[in-house]
């Protein structure tokens, strides 16, 4: 790279927490601003997509894209950014695996639109146009972008060089990535800015995890007074740390909450939920079929629990890939 690296940041379907992970670098962000050329960052700077179109192909060194792909507009924007960028980075869980936004794939887009735009009790114009259908005739307004049939992770639309997992990613990790880019090194294809191993390996409660755990009823946080120093699983509380990539500094565990898997699967796995199910099944005490059914019954909303962040990346969340 000659001169300061050129950076773009874009926000697809997400809550804004990933943008926050950049702002939370605090003083370090000033250094990033001074040592890079930020050409596109709608959350912070005034910029139009035409500014991106005006760039030469490959002019952007690294584009950070957060949020899931939910709208046709997202597809156009990420394809444009792909064309203009040497390196595309999936920034945060939604871009990585669909994230919480991906839970929309439990329903069809038609059901979601009907619920939000037609049947919501507060909706004054239930017969109004739906997103993607175009606005009233006679106006020059653009229609709202349309929903895709399903939420997709970024890598289903464009090639992605690197992933920064986390919901949101830790600001320290963001600083590390920016430092690397400022030093002139773009991430190699397949880089994941997290540990190779499961969260348990870096868990502060690691030493309290017994060799073998057997659960005869899963407890819920709200009906348990749990020991804040002991492994959650040893207290019959579901924690997905054993199947989740570490690298989050065990933020939730330190705040006395069990892991829900926002960093996604370790390198050994493909489908996060499948790994989570295998983990939970392995904890279930031996018995007969009725015992197993009762045990499974004690897990409220298992699909939403195991696939909280990864439904859109799973075959269970999008049907078959054509």
């Amino acid at each position: 790279m000659a001169g300061p690296p050129t950076i773009a940041l874009y926000w697809c379907a997400g809550c804004g927490g990933c943008e926050e992970s950049v702002f939370d670098m605090a003083e370090q962000l000033i250094g990033v601003y001074e040592k890079t050329r930020i050409v596109f960052w709608p959350a912070a700077l005034d910029a139009r997509s035409s500014d991106v179109e005006a760039l030469a192909d490959g002019e952007i060194d690294a584009a950070f894209i957060n949020g899931a792909i939910r709208l046709d507009e997202h597809v156009q924007m990420v394809r444009l950014l792909r064309k203009k960028s040497k390196c595309l980075i999936a920034h945060g869980t939604c871009a990585h695996m669909g994230g919480v936004i991906g839970l929309g794939n439990f329903f069809s887009s038609k059901q979601l639109l009907a619920c939000a735009y037609q049947h919501a009790p507060s909706m004054a114009t239930p017969k109004g146009p739906l997103p993607g259908q175009g606005a009233d005739t006679g106006t020059t307004r653009h229609p709202l972008p349309g929903l895709l049939p399903a939420v997709l992770p970024l890598d289903r639309i464009v090639d992605v060089e690197a992933v920064i997992p986390g919901c949101p990613p830790p600001p320290e990790t963001m600083a590390q990535v920016f430092d690397q880019i400022i030093a002139g090194v773009l991430p190699a294809k397949g880089t994941v800015y997290a540990h190779q191993k499961a969260l348990c390996h870096s868990c502060p409660r690691r030493d309290t995890r017994p060799e073998r755990i057997t659960v005869s009823r899963f407890k819920r946080l709200q009906d348990t007074l749990w020991d804040p120093t002991v492994c959650f699983l040893a207290q019959d509380l579901i924690c997905l740390g054993p199947v989740t990539r570490g690298g989050c500094n065990a933020r939730c565990i330190s705040a006395n909450m069990p892991c829900r898997g926002c960093f996604g699967p370790t390198t050994a796995m493909d489908d996060f939920g499948a790994g989570a199910m295998a983990l939970i099944a392995a904890l279930m005490a031996d018995g007969d079929e009725t015992d197993y059914e009762a045990l499974i019954e004690s897990i409220p909303d298992p699909a939403g629990l195991f696939y909280r962040y990864s439904l859109a990346a799973s075959i269970l969340g999008k049907g078959r890939r054509p």
Partner: protein
């Protein structure tokens, strides 16, 4: 799509289920052509990822067959399968892939007639659901 195009992956344990499929062949039972048999060491080897991989690769149904309870060659392998598959079916109930596309059952070595019956039942169960719908891709 014709019902003959449906694909059902049958994951058969080495000690009982695979032998029962052999027995079905030897005794010239009718095993529907939609069934694709895959030999595994034990039903306890089948984890949810394996089943989902089959669906992702285009299967319309997955049938896991193991030894009858108490008869597992590895003592508790079929119990592990039971825990995993019931949990997976519970999860599938909330998703576009119907839980009846997955079946776990038991068959003894030599029970060729039972194997043929389970295979036929599985095919008609999946036929009723049709192919996995290609919803949601780009």
């Amino acid at each position: 799509m014709k019902s003959l195009d449906l694909k059902i992956i049958a994951l058969l344990c080495h000690w009982c289920a695979y032998d029962s499929a052999d027995a079905a062949g030897r005794s010239r039972q009718d095993v529907p052509p939609q069934i694709r048999e895959v030999h595994v060491r034990c039903s306890g080897q089948v984890d949810p990822a394996m089943v989902l991989k089959a669906f992702a690769a285009g299967a319309d149904g997955v049938m896991v067959l193991g030894c009858k309870p108490g008869d597992c060659h590895y003592r508790t392998g079929n119990h592990q399968a039971l825990k995993r598959m019931r949990l997976l079916q519970q999860v599938m109930a909330a998703t576009p892939i119907h839980p009846q596309r997955l079946r776990l059952d038991w068959v003894s070595a030599g029970e060729g007639d039972r194997y043929a019956r389970l295979a036929q039942e599985m095919v008609s169960q999946v036929k009723a659901l049709g192919p996995v719908d290609a919803k949601g891709g780009m």
